[in-house]
Every structure is written in C-alpha cells, then in structure tokens.
Symmetry: C2
Subunit: 670 residues, 2 copies
Amino acid sequence: MKPADIKKVKITDSFWGRLQELVRSEMIPYQWKALNDEIDSAAKSYCIHNFRAAARLNEKRRELGEDFKQAKFSDPGFEVWPCDGEQPQPDKFYGFLFQDTDLYKWIEAAAYSLATRPDPGLEATVDEAVKLIASAQHPCGYLDTYYLLCGMDAAFTNLQSNHELYCLGHLIEAACAYYEAAGKDGLLTVARRYADYVYERMGPEGDIPGYPGHEIAEMALARLYNVTGEKKYLELAKLFIDRRGQSPNYFDEERRAEARRLGRQYRQSPDLNRYAYHQAHMPVREQKEAVGHAVRAVYLYSGMADVGALTDDETLKKACVELWRSITREKMYITGGIGGTCVGEAFSYPFDLPNDSAYAETCAAVGLVFFARRMLEISPCGEYADVMEQALYNCVLSGMSQDGKSFFYVNPLETVPEACRKDSRLGHVKSRRQKWFGCACCPPNLARLIESVASYAITEDKNTVWLNLFMGCEFTKEVDGVSLKLSVETDMPFDGGVKLKITAPSAAYASFAIRIPHWTDKDLIEISLPDGKIQKEKDGYLYISGIWEGEEEIRLSLPMPVRIMTADKRVRECLGKAAVMRGPLVYCAEGEELALYRLNTEKKISPEQGEICGNPITLLNAGFKKLSSNSAGLYTEYRKPEETEENLRLIPYFAWNNSGEKEMRVWFRV
Amino acid sequence: MKPADIKKVKITDSFWGRLQELVRSEMIPYQWKALNDEIDSAAKSYCIHNFRAAARLNEKRRELGEDFKQAKFSDPGFEVWPCDGEQPQPDKFYGFLFQDTDLYKWIEAAAYSLATRPDPGLEATVDEAVKLIASAQHPCGYLDTYYLLCGMDAAFTNLQSNHELYCLGHLIEAACAYYEAAGKDGLLTVARRYADYVYERMGPEGDIPGYPGHEIAEMALARLYNVTGEKKYLELAKLFIDRRGQSPNYFDEERRAEARRLGRQYRQSPDLNRYAYHQAHMPVREQKEAVGHAVRAVYLYSGMADVGALTDDETLKKACVELWRSITREKMYITGGIGGTCVGEAFSYPFDLPNDSAYAETCAAVGLVFFARRMLEISPCGEYADVMEQALYNCVLSGMSQDGKSFFYVNPLETVPEACRKDSRLGHVKSRRQKWFGCACCPPNLARLIESVASYAITEDKNTVWLNLFMGCEFTKEVDGVSLKLSVETDMPFDGGVKLKITAPSAAYASFAIRIPHWTDKDLIEISLPDGKIQKEKDGYLYISGIWEGEEEIRLSLPMPVRIMTADKRVRECLGKAAVMRGPLVYCAEGEELALYRLNTEKKISPEQGEICGNPITLLNAGFKKLSSNSAGLYTEYRKPEETEENLRLIPYFAWNNSGEKEMRVWFRV
C-alpha cells in the first residue's frame, strides 16, 4: 500500500477545500512574510536572515580561499535573540538552533499546494528560497546555519541537543516534495549533497557513529531513497534506527568527548531512563512504552515503520505495533492529542492525561497522523485510520484558527483564562491562539499536512484503493492499463453519507476499501452497490470488489449518532466525567463557570445546524444541570447541591476560541 | 491579651504530652545529630560545620590583626554542597545560605523544652552551641556564616535573596526563648550585638534603607523589644515594615547597585507584580491579597500584627485583617495548609487550591498559627483560634511521623505514589516522609511550635484567661494578688468534653473565656457552672466570670459530630467532592484506587476507637460506592457506572503515611 500521489487527487470537499484554500491564501503568504521578519506584530523569525548570513559567508570563503578563517565555535545557547533595542547583526545567527526547518516546512507546504494548484508567483518565491538555501550550503555539503554562522568546527559535536540532523530531515522532506510537485531538482541536489556528507561522516565508514537527538531524518531518508532509488539513504536511516539506545550510549560518548575537550571531568548520570526524552534509553526494538518528547517519539516511530516496511524487518514492525498500542491504549487524549506533560513536552506515565495542563502539541498530533498512515501501509487496519482521523479532526485542526491567522502550540482539553494568566504551572497553555511563535514549528507543520491531506485520505496498491478518510475529491487510478476516474462526494465530518462514483472507460477489476469508522453503528449502515460486486468486511474496511465498467456508484450511509464517551478508570482526571462526540468530532463547551455544569446523560443531545466565523458547522444542543454558584464560605457543611436545568450549545473542539477568550471544556462531570 | 508564659504551664494532656515527649526524646537529639552531620543515612546539614569555620576565621583575625585579609566575595550561589566524593573543606561554607537558622530553631525548641522540663544534659549542649555561635560572630556584631565565610565585603548587598535578616530573626527568637527559659543571656547578648549592628546600618541613621527579603526579623525584633524593653528594636521592626514595597523599590535599588558594581546595564523588569514573591510589590498597608512565598507572607503578617499591636497602629491592624481574610476566605486548604503552588512555594490566585500538587508547606502552616495567635492578641475572636486549631491539628501535625523521625515539607491532600515518582510536575510532593532535608526548615519549626504550644492554647490579660485550644494542662494565674491554680482535663481532639478546675486560696474575680469551636453544634453544648457565675457569649468565646474561691469546676460538653464538608464552588479542584471532618480533625483515606471511591453521603459515618502506631486515635467508618475498575478501552461509550458498596476506615489526616506508602485522599467525589 502506498499513499495516493497528491498530484492526481483534486480535493473538491467543502470542509477540506476551504482549509486548503486558507493555507494557500493566508498561511503560506503569511508564513513567508514571517520568515522574512516582515510582520511587525509577531515574534521575529530570523530564518531567512540566517540563510542570507550563511550565504555571505560562502562568498567570503570564495573570495578569500585559503585565507578564509572563521572564529572558533563559542556556544551561544539553544536560542539566540537580539537584546531589547539592539539591531540584529547581519552576520549573526538568531532564533532557535533549528530555525532553518521553518523555511523547509514552508517549502514543503508550498510544494504540496503547487502539486495540485499551479501558482507561478508562489513557484518563483520557492525557487528564490531554493537559490538562497543552495547559496548558504557549505562547499562540503554541510548545511545548518547555526553552526555555519557560529562555528563549523563544532558541527556534529552535539547531535543529542543541537538538531543538525533534524534540519537535514526537514530539508529532505521539502526537497522531495518540491521535486515531486514541480519536477525541479535544485533543492533535491542540495538535500542529497547534505545527506551524502552526513553519510560520509555517519555512514558505515564514517567517523561519527551517531544518530539524531531530534528524530525525523529516519523517515526523511526513507523518502529520499524512495524518490532517488539510492540505497545508501535507506542504509543511513536504518543505521540511525539500529544504533539508537545501544550501549554504550552515543549521547554519553558525546558528553564524554565534550568534557575531554573542555578539560572537565565527565560523570555519567546514574538515571537508567536518561535519554528517554530522546527515545534513546534502550534499543528501539526493545521499547514497548512510548516515552519522552512526544514529537520526537512519533517522528521516530514513523521512521521505524518506514524502514521496517522497506527492509521488511519484522522486529521493527513489531516494535511499532507495541509503541502504537502504548500511545493509543494508554497515552492519548480523546482529541488524538499526545503529550500529557509540559515537562519535556512529553508523554507522561500511562493514563496520566490531565486536561488543563495537557501539552498535546499540535506537531505531536501531526506526527501521530504520520505514524498512523505508516502503520496503515504496513497493515491496512481500520484502527490506524480511526486514530488518524481522530487526531486530524480534533487536536491537529484545533491548532489553527478558522481564519488561518493564529495558532495553538498546546491544545488543552480544559481552559480557564484566569488560570492561564495567573498560574505559572500553566505557563505553556494559552487561552487564545497566537499569531506566530519564536519556536514556530506548529504553523508550518499544519500547512504541510493540510496541503497533503489527500495522501492520508487515500492509499492504494495495484488493484485496490483505500478510502481511509472521507472527503470530497476526484482522482484517477490506473488498473491493468485502464484509467479509472473516481470521485467521492460527502459532507463529512458532519454527515455520514458517502458516494463513490467510478467511471471506467473499459472493464477493469478493482477493489475499493471503504473504512467503517469506529464511531458509526455498524449494524445500521446502509450500503448501495452496483450489481455483481463482492462485498467483504476485513479489519475495519469494507472491500467492494469486482469488474467496473462505465459509470458505477457505491453509496454508503454511515449513521453518525451523538456519543457520550467515558475514559478508562485509570485516567484519574476524567473519573466521573463524560465527553461528547459525533462522528470523528470531539465537542466542547465555551462559556463561563463551566466547571459548574454537569452533563445530563438522560437527556437527548440534538445536532443543530450552525456556523462559526461564517463556516457551516454542526452544533450539539445538550442538557446540563448547573450547580448554583452560591457559597456560604470557603468550607461549609455539605448539603444536597442545588442545580438548575440548562442547555449548552457544544461546538466541535477544533473550532474553539474563534469568538473571543472564554473558558473551554471537553470533559464534564456526569 | 498576651500568650501564657510556658514556664507556668504544665502540659498533662495525653495527645500533646506525647508529642512534646517525642520532640524531647526523638526530634531534639536527632536534630542535634543532624546539625552535626552525624546521621549517615540523611542529607548532610553542615550547619555546625559553618559556625566552626567562622569561629576559626575569628581566631585568625585575632592572630593576624591588621594583617588579616579575607578574599573578596565570589558568589557561590544559593546552595553549596561538596561534589560527589569530595571531602568538605574545613574553611568553606556548605548548605543553603540560610543554613544558620537550623541551629537557631533547634536552640529555640530546646529552650521551650527546658522551660518546662529541666534537662542538664540538654542545657549543656545548648550552652555549647551558644558558645560556638558567639565565637563565630564578627567583631562588629555581624553574624551570618555564609558571608562570614564567603566574603564579608558583600554583606547586606543582596537583602532580597540572601537571608541575612532571616538569620537575624531566628537568632533573636532563639536568644529570647533561651533567655526566658534558662535565664541565661549569652545568646541574647550575641543577638543584641547583631541587632545593634543591623540598627546601625539599617536604622534611621543607617546607610542601608533596606528590609528583609525573607521576613521574620519583624516579629523577632518586636519580641526582642518585649524582652529587653529597648525601643530601638521595635523602631527597626517598624522601619522594616514601613519601608517594604515603597517606591522606588529597595530591591530594584539593590539590583541597580549590583549592576553598577559589575559594570553591567540594569534593566528594570516591567512586571508590576515583581517582588510579590517577597510581599514587596506595594506598601504593606495597601496589600489586600495574600501573595507570594507563603512562609514569608505569614511571617511578615505576624510581624505586622506585633508592631500594629505594640504601636497601636490601626492602619497596620486593618491591613492584617484584610490579609487574614484573603488567606482564610480564599487561599487556605481545609487542612489549614497554605500555598497552592510549588512555583515560588507560594499562594496561587484565589480559590486555586489543587489537591495533588499542593504546596501547603509545614512551615507555612506553622506561620499561619503564629499569625492567628497575633490576630487573637489584637482582637479575641473565635475565628482566629478556629483557624489556628485547624492548621495545627491537620497541616502542621501532618508534617511529622508518629515516631517523630521523619517529616513532610509539602502536605498534599491527595497522593498517588506512582504519580509522585513519575510526574516531574509533582517533584515537590513526596508520598512518604523524609528523614531530613538539605533545606531543613520544617522539622525544627515543628519542634519549636510543639514545645511552645501552651502559649497558643492559653492567652491572658489582667483578669481573663482565654482557652483557645483545648489540651490537658495545669497552670497558675495571678489575679489581684491571688494565685489561682487552674487545671484543664480533656480528651481533645477526639472527644468534646472539657473540665476546667479552678482552685483559689482566697476569693478573686476572674473571667475564663472558653472558645466555642466552629465545628461544634452550639445549641447542643452542655455547660455546668458553679453557682453565682455569669456566662456571656462574645465573638466565639464563652466568658464565665465571677468571684472564685476554694475549688470550683466548669464543665463543658461540646458535641463533636462527624461533618461532611464542601468547598466554595470556585475551588474547581473540589467541585462535586466532599471531605469529612470531626472536631478539628480533617479525615482522609489511605489505600489503593481511591479515585474510584464515591462518598455515600446518605450513610451514617460512625466513629470507632482505633490506633495508629500504638497511639489511640478515633477512626471513622464511612460508606462509599466504589466504581468498578473494568475498562473496555481508553475511551468507550458511557454507561451508567457499576458501583459496589464498600466501607473505608478514615484516619485523621495528620496521621497519614504511618503504615507504608499508599494512596491518600481527603476530597472524595459524592
């Protein structure tokens, strides 16, 4: 199974079409300006600034030749910003040390957009950016503006923390995307040169037996192998995975070498879980629990799944299944958010899923979508697509406002604005979206996922097309030399009707695997099939097979009942509470004093047409009992509580905080 | 009103007598060993080490005279410990920069013990300690081993953070206590010399218009004035209070001067709440909300109440009332614990009182007891004694184990051992008591409060004796030349019976004010009085007045019903929950899976005799409904919960964690 080629899929869906248009018309131009520091009211990026500074260094290098001497590396820290009132210096690095990736992610998003909707202006801007990146690359192939500007002598000395391989990964992703979209190999050449250099240094014959401190290079190198057919990229990806967490730990070796350089004594921490943050606490094949920084984790697991599939490595695939289970059975919010603790932006221990102090980073949910699709590729089970859908429609989309202009980094399931302002333990939680972040990983990650969503919705092999996510689209599928024209019509995520039209110029055998979502009532699904087709259910998919000719139509009506959900008893934060879902959407309330509301589970919850910011949306009208807020004192004798019946209109979680700053809550006492 | 002189009160109470005996026989000897670093299994203190090192410096000073040159101050940081495997150097400072106070608090506790129970061995040890302290004092009177050892040139340059006046405060408290207990003025002389030096530098003519970053000197100086009659100590206390939070802020000035010294630019933080941690964000008379570090706050408020009473300053008294209300109406746990957040060990915003991540430091509850008694001294209202009792019997006593050998710094209202181990956001919460702490402020604070508890239980003026807390004791009261012998018998906190026997050798007029606790049912109190006495209720006290002669007896029976308590609706963490109290005691459950238990408020909760670690205790047998822990998955459709009826034996909160490490919980879902 492979993801659909997004060039061949035209999204016609009103829901996703609008989002893609937002990305094209708002986010991509806005983010380009942000990368260029042209937005006064937002935090400065310095991303383009850094590439320009590195390019100037190359000019100098060329001019001076052997006379070129760069100052030795003097560690400026993890993030560098000009002091208040200080003008940024043209030859200095600013931002987080992985600032380069913001440009790469932007190019990747732009590439996906260009793949389906040509835009010569945007393509010219991308070409300009590619030129800039190429001009910043070191003659040896190395490319990370942090070390290029701060001192190349220290390059690759701190793989654990300093993100050079993370930059490589995002560069490769952007390069592959742009090559596939526009057929231009300028950036691909840059990426290959950097990858070749890394192979030289870290490959089987290299001098650095390291691996990334922040994963992504693994899946990126697998992709580079797929695009170029060059085996050494897959080999390097596999090396990164195989070395990870082996003893002696490479990150220990790095710290030891650093201590030697600085003439200090090195003391190894006795903590057996050291490097769990980086998923490097044990060999990956022995890891059964998802731990550490959540984004890093799912990026690694995605890479493991890629390499597992490409090398047909059963031990890797098995580890992926274990880790998938750990996440989805014990460590995932109902919104598909992951990362229960802000400490290390990380997975907490099993079932520790606090609602108000959740981390649930947008990027981590994006990464979970990556991981889910790769698990689908290994084994087409509905469970993977269910989680993919849950993460996508809830935690991922909550990451951006309805107008595409502001973003959440952290996606809590309960907020009280006063608490966010006054409680420093909630310092990471914002009760309204921000325009841009100094560490702007999430907005461009959203953009690249939304623009490539078709490759998650639809996957295929020789004769089969899987509809994993439901969205209106048109695409073609070649089977046995026949080009089938397919079109999907649906009003998901608000209505369960799905129509798949197949137009076959001549007879061809094909299967269409339509996912039966976990949220529907399987026994009540209505299916209408053309004559002579075989229908078979397997692993959460309905396979409809047969010979197709002329115009044929499959119709499904998936019941989409309102569901009151409860959490495993070990999720202490949700004990005695319930959440409301309909279809893939988690619903929430916005308002005041929400803690006083108790969901009346006896009362029918009814869907209602509504809109948020002009976008049609299905709301839910739910009955609650509201506790009187009267209090005779801080602690008083208990009396049976006085409650009044009240209704609240619940909105989809992804659409919260689009009409001012209010309290928000997903889980209600019952 | 003044606190009773503890020398005149003999505690005969089984509950408090046992605790005082524990302090004498266990804590005082144990802590002396700890201060001397003689306990292998506990964190090292270095407290005595530091005084010895400073004393050696004085010897050198005497030997070398004008040739004595000390190295310039080089900031070693807030805490200094030898590296692993490194031997402590005899001339170096170790520990927290306020390490001296541990010895002072130990002496204070020992003094209170000696006041009622002579012990020549202990007295000799105290005298030895006093000699050591005196030998460490700088010829000028200055006394803080941190700066004495690290560089006197920097003394008083960082009052905000570096605790020299905190050390002064504890030194004075110890000196007054030992002078009152043993009549020896050796330590008092040391304390006066340091206070005189501080007066010289910070008094009205001094060069440093500062005030303490960590308060306590205010109340200590008021006490020193009471003991010595020397007005300048009261004047200095008042100056510290009056200067606090005035603009320009002295702490800003300090930082500015530091920047000047280091040749750096100083930038004032634009945060209007800066210095709220130190209660120095605005003048104290304008402060209406209790904020910042909770221990600092209640120490300051205690000092304000002392100075307000001694100078009859209505504006100060009024500020104390406002701050008292802020704490007790909005920011106090039901256990009398204060400090809702670990960030700054501080008060959080109103009604933010999380149970599992509570700070509720033992020392802060001790400080609240200090503040409460001072509020009583200003105005004898039962409310103050109610809170004093609530804090004392719950949060304060929770601070130590039944065997007096281990201690809690933080007193949560809900713990799950797994969470404490695995959730770094709960790093401050321990699920079992510790033997000693590097920062050992709490154990000696407990010791000094327990040994002086009589001065909180009983206060007096010319003709009136107030019984604020109920405990068995014998004491004498001089009225109009007649020496009344008084004795109290009671089984508090487990039974509401109180008997006060008055023996008057000749007729004398006196009033006995017996507190009517908030937890009793006022209408059901049974009172038996001798003939001819007048009984009048005022502000939560029952005043029984008349002429006493021969042996007379007042008997009260205060009903002590089990009370199910609820919190103000704005305490989000307690919504839909209830706690159980009986008398002044908050009860809790210990066990497994406590989150699954719902308190059955319909079922009678019955007291039962029991014991914990051999100590008799009243337990409560309460009915619960326990949720089945079966879970079909992480998120499943809600069904009416399956519950089974179960009983749990609740124990007094102060006695939790005396039988192994289990879950503990005060607030239950109802």
